[in-house]
Amino acid sequence: MLNEIFIKPFVDMVEAPDFLMQVLWEGLVSGILYALIALGFVLIYRSSRIFNFAQGIMVVFAALTLVGLHAMGVPAWICVVLTLGVMFVLAVTIERVVLRPLVGQPDIILFMATIGITLFLIGFGEIIFGGENKVMITEQLGIPTDSVLLEPWGGLLILEQKDITAVAVAALLVVALLVFLNKTRMGRAIRALGDDHQAALSVGISLQTIWVLVWFIAGIIALVTGIAWGARAGVSFALEVIAYKALPVLMLGGLESITGAIVGGLMIGMLEKLFEIYWGQPLLGGNTETWFAFVLALIVLLFRPQGLFGERIIERV
């Protein structure tokens, strides 16, 4: 047994390095998408202390809007612009109808409100678009769908061009977000709200504007995530489940940390894949991805309750 745990997995990695690279690549693709979803959570949490339970359904709603508009005969890229418009309207509506009346309420009330938003979007989405599985308009958006076959060390490494595109776009979006948050006035305002709510308000930062902005950014993230995941296995309400994979990322990286979301997402994506392939499948019958990330996050929380990159908050009692 000790051999199976401590030696064989590493021997397998060395004996089939092409396969190891494939595992790492698949982990990277999953990881960057987890990171993207986690960023959506973090941005909203930082600016409003709201844990946005609706992030998953926003992914579904954005993807469904995109394919739904295309089914009505609208050209693909116009659909993207219109979908962004819909996500903006959604952000404004959420701020006006749900969040504004709840300003000053305890965090748990705002969290419950996002559960309400989730339930509303599920019902509304099903009425408008139906629950059937739909095909993502991958080719119409110009996303290549072929595979790149490489032969490292005489083996085989399959890289799907749509995965490469997803990784590239997600990485670009992450960089763009970091630049926006660090170099622009609005970005700094979001960070200021995260650092000290009262102080930010006292210097004239508009809570309403920032909330609309962060929910809209979460909508953009949802659209990119929806396109990337939808291109892999179609667009359906099952996509919502994928957002829950971001929860251990947040636990691991810290709920307020943008760096944590990115590093946590990549770590979980790659480690859960490595563990599943080299330990989970041979020793535990597989399907360890369901729990691995949570166990990893739990171990981290035992030593760092605020997560790897979260802020240590000491509250006086």
């Binding site: 089939a16 396969f19 494939q22 595992v23 698949e26 693709v29 999953s30 599920i122 099903e126 139906g130 629950g131 059937e132 599985n133 095909v135 595979s147 399959i158 799907e160 995941w229 892999r232 296995a233 179609g234 359906s236 309400f237 099952a238 996509l239 919502e240 489940v241 994928i242 829950y244 994979k245 894949k273 599943e276 392939i277 989970g280 499948q281 019958g285 597989g286 399907n287 991805e289 369901t290």
Partner: protein, 430 residues
């Protein structure tokens, strides 16, 4: 005093309405799942079921002159919600249609007490086929073990399975695990290596780890037991990893046109076992079109009507309607009770001639049930994706009844012993 009078009046009105409701029709609730991760599979099935009953109501004024009260209770394929739906609808129901193996397993003991038949065509717990032990449960026209047996027989026709490796890619859920006992038995008997690969509910759309395992293990065949979003996830990964599609076969819930549309031409050669097949020329289709679709009473979209799942939904309701009809004839009354319906479902004779009479020509294989045989063991066809639709790739293949029956009896006995005291049908002498 005024309040008491009001309450009495309300109670009288309620009693009147209650009795009217009972006389309104044959209440046949369906624990539907049009929402959630499995909705893509559920919607066409539910539409087919509802449309068949709507057609009977419009064309014939119901069954035996009594309208069918076909109501859906949404479960989202969640076992907890399914049990709630069962409890909510059981009061006046003559049948329950649980639509998930998880829900079926939960309501199975309850139906013994409530004495309501479970109709689970082609799903649920396979030993339910043993009608003596599971007197209130029906999985006709065939069980999951029948399905697994048909798949293995088809593979054996392609060549000896001895020494081969067969991956079993399945949803990590009671439904997905259901055929494992049969497959394990047959793996030992036929000498092939069975490699179970579970897919978690959260991993349905991201099965890269499962398909990396398939790439590493290089199985000769992949048998898929998928439902909902798992199907599209698996098929896209199979295409991506260049697994030969002709060596991949799914259960009947993994043969949905919309799942294959995602890969289109690249999915060519993928197969699925099926106990139903769409026949656009069948008389029932014309009746559904005339009385339901054209009348604007259907929720189905136009491109759904020729699909495998819509057609299967029609067949499922036809089985229930036939059970009701048989019971009405036998007991010589139109308003039947759940226990009457149980008799009807135990005495189905869906012969070729009867299927023709019902307008279901070619849409389901002939089968019959009895008090000891609640599955019918109809046999099934292998369907193949031709790049645009499913076509028949085999004649009717019958399951290996001998091996299945042995396993059914032993597992049914085990279940009854584990849940003792479990009432069995002592009157059934077959």
């Amino acid at each position: 005093m005024k309040h008491v009078a009001k309450l009495a009046a309300a109670a009288a009105l309620g009693a009147l309405m209650g009795s009217t409701a009972l006389a309104e029709g044959l209440y046949t609730p369906n624990l539907a799942y049009r929402t959630g991760p499995f909705a893509a599979t559920g919607i066409p099935l539910m539409n087919g079921q509802a449309d068949y009953m709507a057609m009977l109501n419009a064309r014939d004024g119901g069954i035996g002159g009594v309208m069918v009260d076909f109501e859906e209770c949404e479960t989202g394929y969640s076992t907890e919600k399914g049990v709630e739906c069962y409890e909510k609808t059981k009061g006046k129901a003559i049948v329950t249609q649980p639509w998930s193996t998880g829900i079926t397993l939960q309501v199975l003991p309850k139906t013994n007490v409530d004495e309501i038949p479970i109709l689970a065509p082609g799903y649920g717990f396979s030993p339910m086929a043993d009608g003596k032990v599971f007197q209130w449960a029906f999985n006709a026209p065939l069980s999951y073990w029948d399905g697994a047996s048909i798949i293995l027989k088809f593979l054996q026709d392609q060549g000896d399975l001895s020494g081969k490796k067969v991956a079993f890619l399945h949803l990590d859920h009671p439904f997905g695990k259901e055929p494992l006992p049969y497959l394990e038995t047959k793996a030992e008997a036929l000498g092939f290596e069975l490699l179970p690969i579970p897919v978690g509910l959260k991993e349905m759309q991201n099965q890269s780890a499962q398909w990396l395992q398939i790439r590493r293990e290089r199985p000769d065949y992949v048998i898929m037991w998928g439902w909902g979003a798992m199907n599209a996830g698996a098929i896209t990964e199979a295409v991506k990893t260049k697994f030969p599609m002709e060596n991949m076969l799914g259960v009947w819930w993994s043969g949905h046109d919309a799942d294959l549309d995602i890969v289109g031409e690249e999915g060519k050669g993928y197969k699925s076992v099926s106990w139903s097949f769409p026949n656009p020329d069948a008389p029932v289709m014309a009746d559904v079109k005339q009385h339901v679709i054209d009348a604007g009473k259907s929720q189905a979209s136009a491109d759904e009507l020729d699909g495998v799942f819509y057609s299967r939904g029609l067949v499922i309701s036809a089985i229930l309607a036939e059970g009701i009809h048989v019971a009405q004839e036998h007991f010589d009354k139109a308003e039947i009770s759940p226990s009457d319906l149980r008799w009807g479902l135990e005495n189905l004779d869906m012969s070729e001639a009867r299927l023709d009479e019902l307008g279901l020509t070619g849409m389901v294989p002939p089968f019959s049930t009895s008090c000891s045989n609640h599955a019918g063991h109809s046999g099934g066809w292998i369907l193949e994706w031709d790049g645009a639709k499913f076509v028949k790739a085999s004649d009717l293949i019958m399951p290996d009844s001998e091996a299945i029956s042995e396993l059914e009896l032993s597992r049914a006995k085990e279940y009854a012993e584990a849940n003792a005291p479990w009432p069995v049908n002592e009157d059934c002498k077959m």
